[in-house]
């Protein structure tokens, strides 16, 4: 008809390419071959075409040129390809990989794929699958990722794949919705040795940044968050930290141990099995951080944050063993404290407060979700260096008011299991104040907002007895020193991090010892976080850390049997970790030591050799 006539008419203005006539001939040949196969005849030329496509020899230029011409001709004859009669050539095309070819062949192949996808609905799924497969590079690429030519090839391939996906979604508007389930399906399983999943996630996030992300961004974040969580849970953190369950809450945090040159008590047996996963997780986190940063630069972080929070709520909020994945939220908030930082806290508080709303049936299973939300809120308010004190004070006030309301309506004695939410709320308030007491008390208005706290803590429900002893002890100490109020009863805790009562309110998930934003344990991730993170060593409590030894004698709260341990552990870090100690291992008395300890802490690296700053 009209257009095909132009192919046979050399005088037409139709310009097929540089070498007009031979390309036209090729197209005609291809069409004839396809037609004859469709009619049921066997065709030598068709067999030749199938063979050319299956050849995989990058170095042969002649073959490359032949393949190039064939692909171009096929692009021009897409309408003549029949899904039933031309299976061999179609499977050949869908089996090809851009990784194996030179850029000019890549271009022709990509054009063919786009034409196939756009021209007939029957090929759309195959084309999309073929393109997504490139997100998992072949082993020879993974093994040589540091080589320049491999990096160049990766750039050539992935830029064309993304370009093709965008062009297809332009021509076939429903393509993105078909693409997303395929992306989920092809996500590589957790593999200890390969970094493949990191590259795949890199590409997923790049898609999120494109127009496809407008449609499917939420689902992409879900996929990424789920993978982060799964990897996080696979790693045996307890082994790496060598059972930190007895470590003092406010003991000097592990990074100070690194300053000493002490060896971190790492289970070296686990290095081999967990080592690769730790690296993968670290790289994945950094990839995600980079993506969030670029979103922020383009002004999209606010929009992205909603999707990010949804996936956090779905996967991380009710997972109590993840140690690292939650830092994605922390990082996003640190990039944009006024919007995202505020939103995160408010959403968590809303989840906690939604426990008040009337429900048609008594849904017990949600209580751990609410407790988890308030634990996250507490850890976030305590550790977020970028959060202004006024914001922390506002959140605290709402928590205090909520607990005060609860006290007013409740006339019960201590019953940890029945009043879990109340105790977790109180513990949250106390935990935040351990970190922020001084700055809050400095402002009279904020100080006055904390007045109801005394009556809450003195209520029959006795939160001081039930909440985590280490938190209570530190809080009371600071409250006394800061003049907030003085507790008349003495609380003897005796080396306890936790007690039976706290275990009771914490439940089987141990939400009483759940502090999700405790320092991040991965090297590269932590370097992104530490600038915005409040370490315990950075906190200036209301009592003077210098006067520790004198204070202990007349303190009404007896925390520790023996304050100073003469057994400076040369190799006995276990003992130090087991000791419940408010005083830091190294006194601030010595000026030199104080300066060293006040420095930005070094990274924690779960390996046998300590990392220097």
């Amino acid at each position: 008809m009209g257009a095909s006539e132009a192919l046979t008419d050399p005088s037409s203005l139709y310009n097929v390419g540089n070498n007009d006539l031979s390309d036209t001939e090729t197209v005609l040949n291809v069409r004839n071959a396809l037609a004859s196969v469709q009619n049921g005849e066997s065709d030598l030329l068709y067999d030749q075409f199938v063979e050319t496509i299956q050849i995989n020899n990058r170095s042969d230029h002649a073959l490359g040129a032949q393949l190039d011409a064939l692909l171009k001709a096929l692009s021009g004859s897409v309408a003549c390809i029949d899904v039933n009669h031309h299976r061999r050539i179609l499977s050949g095309i869908f089996g090809m990989s851009l990784w194996d070819h030179k850029p000019h062949v890549m271009d022709s192949l990509v054009d063919l794929i786009i034409s196939l996808a756009a021209t007939s609905g029957k090929y759309l799924d195959n084309c999309l699958n073929m393109l997504i497969r490139h997100f998992v590079p072949p082993p020879w690429v993974i093994d040589r990722l540091w080589q320049n030519r491999v990096i160049e090839q990766k750039q050539h391939v992935l830029s064309r794949v993304h370009g093709a996906l965008l062009k297809i979604s332009l021509l076939v508007p429903l393509a993105p919705s078909r693409l997303l389930p395929m992306l989920a399906h092809q996500l590589p399983k957790i593999n200890k040795k390969d970094q493949v999943v990191v590259i795949y996630v890199e590409n997923l996030l790049k898609l999120e940044n494109s127009s496809i992300g407008q449609v499917g961004g939420g689902m992409i974040f879900m996929m990424v968050m789920e993978r982060l969580r799964d990897l996080d849970l696979e790693i045996d953190w307890d082994d790496i930290l060598q059972d930190d369950s007895n470590r003092g809450m406010f003991d000097m945090e592990l990074e100070d141990a690194m300053n000493e040159g002490d060896e971190l008590p790492v289970g070296s047996l686990n290095q081999d099995t967990s080592g690769g996963k730790i690296e993968s997780l670290d790289k994945l986190m950094v990839t995600c951080f980079d993506h969030l940063e670029s979103c922020n630069l383009h002004g999209r972080l606010d929009q992205v944050f909603e999707k990010l929070f949804d996936s956090f709520e779905n996967f991380i909020l009710n997972t109590y063993k993840s140690k690292v994945s939650q830092f994605l939220m922390f990082y996003a908030c640190s990039l944009d404290p006024e919007n995202c930082g505020v939103k995160f806290g408010s959403k968590l508080l809303d989840i906690f407060l939604s426990s008040n709303k009337p429900r048609p049936t008594r849904q017990v299973s949600l209580s751990s979700l609410w407790m988890s939300a308030v634990a996250y809120l507490a850890s976030y308010l305590a550790r977020g260096k970028f959060l202004p004190v006024s914001y922390v004070a506002t959140m605290l006030k709402r928590l205090v008011d909520e607990c005060a309301d609860y006290c007013r309506t409740c006339n019960d004695d201590i019953r940890p299991e029945a009043h879990q939410l109340f105790y977790s709320g109180c513990q949250a308030i106390m935990y935040v104040l351990c970190f922020r007491m001084r700055s809050i008390l400095d402002v009279p208005r904020f100080r006055s907002e904390l007045i109801p706290l005394e009556s809450i803590l003195m209520h029959k429900l006795n939160p001081l007895m039930v909440c985590l002893p280490s938190v209570v002890a530190e809080f009371l100490r600071q409250a006394k020193a800061g003049g907030l109020f003085v507790v008349s009863d003495s609380f003897i805790f005796e080396d306890l991090l936790e007690s039976e009562l706290s275990r009771a309110f914490g439940g089987c998930e141990r939400l009483d010892t759940f502090f999700p934003f405790d320092p991040c344990l991965l090297k590269s991730s932590n370097s992104n976080i530490s600038g915005n993170f409040i370490y315990w060593s950075m906190v200036r409590p209301t009592y003077d850390k210098d006067d520790d030894e004198e204070d202990d004698d007349d303190a009404e709260i007896i925390v520790n049997g023996d304050e100073e341990s003469d057994e400076e552990d040369e190799g006995d870090l276990d003992y130090a970790l087991n000791k419940m100690s408010i005083t830091p291992k190294h006194s601030f008395k010595n000026n030199m030591e104080r300066e060293r300890l006040m420095k930005m802490p070094s990274m924690i690296r779960p390996s046998t050799s300590p990392e220097s700053l």
Binding site: M1, E5, L7, S120, K122
Partner: protein, 198 residues
């Protein structure tokens, strides 16, 4: 444009008990899950709907999951382009072998060179691909033109239309409408002249 129809339907929507707090929202959610998909029962792709809840009571299903069924009256906008009907869409890409069109913003339509009538010739004008009619120089098809095409087939799974520009009443919508207006105008003129001379 043919292929679009508005129908009324009486539906029974089953809702999970946990959603009993907000029935309308649950019903809308159920129906929304059918949007932009071909449904055999409706015989078309559901594009939009409007619901009103008919009855106050609902029947609870017996069995493990006590879903309850709410009677609903809905008006549905359906899209089902039958073969040989006409549809209109915007041209998004032109190549010597194909014209790619998007219909109603969601359906991809393609006209291949075999289905383009002889009148149209492929040209490259000012760096732009276009098809120009050899008999009417002003009848040009290029990217951005609204095109009227005849449906050859409709792939329900991917919402893909295979179209044809063979019939004479297909082509650029603006040009065709201008033509028909002029034709109408001519007809009137001829009628007046005939009346005048008789």
């Amino acid at each position: 444009m043919e292929g679009l129809k508005l129908t009324n339907a009486e539906l029974l929507v089953y809702i999970h008990p946990s959603k009993s707090g907000n029935k309308l929202k649950a019903i809308c959610r159920e129906l929304s899950s059918l949007l932009f998909q071909y449904d055999e029962i409706f015989d078309g792709v559901l594009l939009a709907f409007d619901v009103t809840v008919k009855s106050k009571g609902a029947k609870i299903l017996a069995g493990l999951n006590p879903y309850f069924g709410v009677k609903v009256e809905a008006s549905l906008l359906l899209f089902n382009p039958k073969p040989n009907s006409l549809v209109e869409g915007k041209i998004v890409k032109i190549s010597p072998e194909t014209i790619h069109v998007i219909v109603l913003g969601f359906s991809a339509a393609v006209v291949t060179d075999i289905d383009i009538r002889e009148e149209f010739k492929y040209r490259m004008r000012n760096g732009e691909d276009c098809f120009v009619s050899s008999s009417h120089k002003r009848h040009v098809l290029k990217v951005g033109t609204m095109l009227r095409l005849q449906v050859e087939s409709f792939d329900e799974e991917v919402m893909h239309i295979a179209g044809s520009l063979l019939p004479a009443n297909t082509g650029c919508v603006k040009w065709l409408e201008k033509q028909s207006e002029e034709a109408l105008h001519m007809d009137r003129l001829v009628l007046i002249c005939t009346l005048f001379f008789t």
